[in-house]
Amino acid sequence: MASRTVALGRVGARGLPGLGWLTLLLGLALLLAAVWNVWNFPLDGVPPARKALSLALIVLGVGAGMYGLAALARRTGGLVPALLAALLTLIAVEGLLRAYGVPPGLIPTPTRVATALYQSRAVLLTDARVTFAQEALLGYLAGVGAGIAVALAAVRFPFLERGALPYAGLFSSIPIVALAPVIVKAFGLEWPSKAIIVAITVFFPVVVNVVRGLQSANPLLLDLMQTYAVTPAAAFRLVRVPSALPFLFNALKIGSTLALIGAIVGEFFGTTGQGLGFRIQIEAGRFNLDIVWAAIVIASVLGIAFYGVLSWLEARFTGWHASRRQPG
């Protein structure tokens, strides 16, 4: 997917910590002041004057912060600008929600979410374990394994490639939500049904990409193998498999995001009482949106980590690939 853009860890040339940092800090200060100004009021009790002041501070703070951030981001690479942007946004949102007295049953403030994250950490971690380690990960591994196996078979037996592969393309455009209820019904409420949903969603992109990858091998290299009169298996190992790796990793990364979403959606259609999807559903019903958001935060942190690990593996195993070369 974002092969060229996912340079999460690179730090560019650093200039002087000048104007950029200064205006950014000013912006943060203004935003903190805006939050502090409306901190300790009941929801419907923010005096209009204070509300107006906070709104003004937020407008100024966001303006200054964005200006500073833009200047900063031109010189600083890596995750720093993005994290600062998140910080800026979160404080501004805190201020806005408090100034307007939005009830936590509608949108919880970031501080409430952070608190919920801390207080419910035990439950949330157990949920995360079920959703991630059992449903998403096992399903993912099964789907990837089956996908690779089928792709190998399709490339080995041209009949399958011509007869079955078009279906894989078609099936991959089926929406999971339409699939989930039927699968939960067929395989029960325990985690395997979710793992199966995940496996199915991951399966198709893997098949399609791996087949494309195995076929992307340079015909000249295959000719070369012919001139060496090697066995088909050796040609496969020496040429086709390495050629397919970049495509495989692409599918693995796409699959990683699909896996978590698949597991969570699957849980909406029935569980035995654990998992992030279950938690989101049950707490949404109790208006504990802070816990709902905390669960979402955990899910996306897991998702990012999963994606990051795959990107790292990709860099390790396909470091030779054109898309990873430094320019020049």
């Binding site: 942007a85 007869g163 455009s173 089926i174 939500v177 067929a186 979403i261």
Partner: protein, 286 residues
């Protein structure tokens, strides 16, 4: 794909042949358990029940055929699946259009400004890993507050889920021209706009369509989820929700088939448009 038709048909026939014993096997178990628990199914033995369960694990082809027929006529009745498929298709297409506009705009910004990319890109990736599906209901509530109701919130949620693949794909496409081609336009003293229109945009079209196909599926998921989780009077999602409450497994299967068909049709249409818009790739091997 024309050359694949024969093998595809054979595979389809084999799959159908394999389906029958598989269906019997899984349904016999379920029927047996029901009978054991004392249920009155209107059939004596598990085998006899296997093809006529009201809640089969896998539906018998005849059952599915009957339901398919029953739920498809009259096609334009508000309670029939074809009509609701069209409704969902409309939301999805509008969502996809919004997503394309948003995605292309974002891609242009990402390519134009390194700073913008650094600040937003990690969050765009993160947004992909967030279970957007869990957010959909809340998003609908927030939109409802501003009077955005009916099909529009569904399209917006579809767009929210679908814009990312478009943005990433188009950004890659806008960056895809060979440096030498960029140099060429530099030697012509082409303006930024000229470079954009004559070089970057056409170069990004194949990428755009590849990602639009991914986005179409995502948008379809988005609109179905939105129909399930917001007030809806029609659409596949609404039918899924209703029939799931009514324990109508066969209806779920029928709706799923229509949903699959819609997803496939959307991707096919995009493929068609792609051919029209990128004629230079017509004979090229891809």
């Amino acid at each position: 794909m024309g050359g694949n038709l024969g093998p595809m048909l054979i595979v389809a026939v084999i799959a159908l042949l394999l389906y029958w014993p598989l269906m019997l096997a899984v349904n016999v178990g379920a029927a047996q358990r029901s009978l054991n628990s004392g249920a009155e199914l209107g059939c004596a033995t598990a085998i006899a029940c296997a093809t006529q369960l009201r809640n089969p694990v896998l539906p018998a082809p005849a059952q599915l055929g009957n339901s398919l027929r029953a739920m498809s006529v009259p096609p334009m009745a508000p309670t029939s699946v074809p009509y609701n498929t069209l409704v969902t298709a409309g939301e999805t297409v509008v969502g996809l259009l919004i997503a394309s506009a948003l995605g292309v705009g974002l891609a242009v910004a990402l390519v134009a400004s390194r700073a913008f990319e650094r600040v937003t890109l990690p969050w765009l990736i993160a947004s992909q890993t967030v279970p957007v599906i869990a957010l959909a209901p809340m998003l609908a509530v927030v939109l409802g507050q501003y009077g955005v109701q009916g099909w529009l919130p569904k399209a917006l949620i579809a767009a929210y889920i679908a814009f990312f693949p478009v943005a990433v794909g188009v950004a890659a496409g806008l960056r895809s021209p060979d440096p030498m081609q960029e140099d060429l336009l530099t030697t012509y003293r082409a303006s930024g706009w000229q470079t954009f229109w004559t070089l970057r945009l056409p170069a990004s079209l194949p990428f755009l369509f590849t990602s639009l196909k991914v986005a179409a599926t995502a948008a379809l998921i988005g609109s179905i989820v939105a129909e399930i989780s917001t007030i809806s009077f029609s659409g596949l999602g609404k039918m899924l929700a209703e029939n799931s409450r009514a324990s109508d497994t066969l209806a779920l299967w029928v709706i799923m088939l229509y949903g699959a068909g819609l997803g496939i049709a959307l991707v096919a249409v995009l493929g068609l448009i792609e051919r029209l818009v990128t004629p230079w790739r017509a004979g090229q091997s891809r």
